[in-house]
Symmetry: C2
Subunit: 318 residues, 2 copies
């Protein structure tokens, strides 16, 4: 492996001059800079990132930490974040589970975007002592930590209120993983809307944010003697599976049971009946997030990151 030393020698300059040239810093004559760059090219030189990081405390990478690779919303979010970061010459690293914690502890990224409730506040705070963090899955008040959370409660509340107005009476809720804040807040909004008119939930079901999970819960519902007339699913994927299960069991939607979800994934438009949902602009969110990160890295003061817009889309499933 060629080092900067080799480059310097080949170019006939000192190591420090080579460093200046390679990092495109001023105070190097054009002539010598060219000599250095040519030498680097010729040797196939790439700076050793560990050495550089050891010295500068910068890695050039941003980490996004998610709770799993499945799901359409992460792919949207990651896509835009990646695009925005690339414009600034920053790399994107994605990780999940235990790896995320390790990357945080090792400070392997210059900034972190967190979307995984399993990551402990403690690890986030440790990281935030030296580098900025944006959390998307919790509210966390701490210097250098910026929260941006979808207005789950508010949006679901509004949707359910509408449905109550439409005349539905027996509301069931199909939850995602209970520990996720998204799930909890959507449930809160659901409860609050019912509570205001003196209703109580007609059974609760535990899903896991996947189509299969929704299907399983749908099968259970289809077998009930006393069925709900409205099922709210904490995300669209479960709603898709659930609708499928109901149809497979001759339960008609929305005649027998109405269904709605959350996210606004495209799949919701590909099923029959099309899914009523709360559409969230994840692409725009990705832009908000990345731009804050970029400002933070440049040392600017910034205020909190805007949450994404969300709006209710009424379709045939309700």
């Amino acid at each position: 492996m060629a080092t900067i030393k080799d480059v310097a020698k080949l170019a006939g300059v000192s190591i420090s001059t080579a460093s200046l040239a390679i990092n495109d810093l001023p105070n190097v004559s054009e002539a010598t800079k060219k000599r250095v760059l040519d030498a680097a090219e010729q040797l196939g030189y790439h700076p050793n990132l560990s050495a550089r990081t050891l010295k500068t405390n910068k890695t050039g990478s941003i980490g996004v930490f998610i709770y799993g690779f499945g799901g359409p919303i992460f792919s949207d979010l990651l896509e835009t974040i990646h695009n925005e970061l690339m414009k600034e010459g920053l790399n994107l690293i994605v990780s999940t589970g235990q790896s995320s914690t390790q990357l945080l502890r090792n400070k392997q990224v210059d900034a972190a975007i967190i979307f995984d409730t399993k990551i402990k506040d403690e690890d986030i705070i440790f990281f935030a002592k030296t580098k900025p963090v944006v959390v998307l899955d919790r509210h966390l008040k701490h210097p250098n930590v910026y929260s941006s959370v979808v207005k789950n409660e508010e949006l679901v509340y509004t949707l359910i209120k509408e449905m109550i107005k439409k005349g539905y009476k027996k509301f069931s809720f199909v939850s995602g993983p209970e520990r996720t804040k998204d799930n909890q807040d959507r449930y809160k909004g659901f409860l609050k809307a019912l509570d205001e008119v003196g209703l109580v939930p007609h059974l609760l079901f535990n899903g896991n944010f996947t189509i299969e999970g929704g299907y399983r819960e749908g099968e259970k519902i289809a077998k009930l003697d006393e069925k709900p007339d409205f099922v709210y699913c904490a995300n669209d994927e479960m709603a898709v599976g659930l609708i499928r299960a109901l149809k497979d069991n001759k339960v008609y939607i929305p005649t027998n049971i109405a269904v709605a979800g959350f996210d606004g994934i495209y799949l919701g438009d590909y099923i029959t009946p099309k899914l009523t949902t709360i559409e969230v602009d994840y692409l725009q969110w990705g832009v908000y997030i990345s731009q804050k990160i970029i400002l933070l890295l440049k040392g600017h003061e910034v205020d909190q990151v805007k949450p994404p817009e969300g709006k209710i889309i009424y379709k045939k499933s309700t």
Copy 2:
């Protein structure tokens, strides 16, 4: 930030002893090891990975480089790979696009798993000079590079032959991104099967491996005067979108047009009619891949990585 020096001082030992203790190496008395570990704990010490890497050339992370975060097959693959690696205390880093190239050039991982045709052979070979690589998207003969490619051509060939036997005559193909080897090889298998019985493709359509892409092509097909009687989609997601488009346009499946796909994603079972497809065991593949990587990292000689099993699953769409 606490360094090993601080830990050593607090524990009242030399730096090297502290290092031995922290890395759980032999030749340290239990008593001093405990003192060191306690000191580390107390100071909230985490080894500086850059320094360590600079010295050892090991990062403790494995990189998976994919062409996008969408799609169910990557989530399956990544899930198992992550699980297997964790057992060995290795971290998983996922990246895409330009970031991947940077990570490779910077040697930010101890081994690479490549599933992105856009990454240049040149960058792979550079990386492979010092660290092992498994490529899943191409055949690349090179020391330290191990290929494992789904038997695309063979599997599609077999499927199409069966369909010819069933009596279909006018075969269309909906492709994925043309540059991907998966797409190319599936197309080859398609052509070969037709060719053997003197048939030629009845029109080709350019999709992009997404549901939306499939839907768009499906709309075009529905409008044709002379429609195919069989459409082969280079992956299941496109087939799902395509079937939806055909149904929306009153084309009946398989009566008017039969459809089949590739991958065996669960969504194929959630649509009506259920999708005939080639089911690939991506979960098992993830295990094969990770285990090879682990062996390689331990310095063992290994032979090529097994490709995943694939089998044709006949459902109602054909």
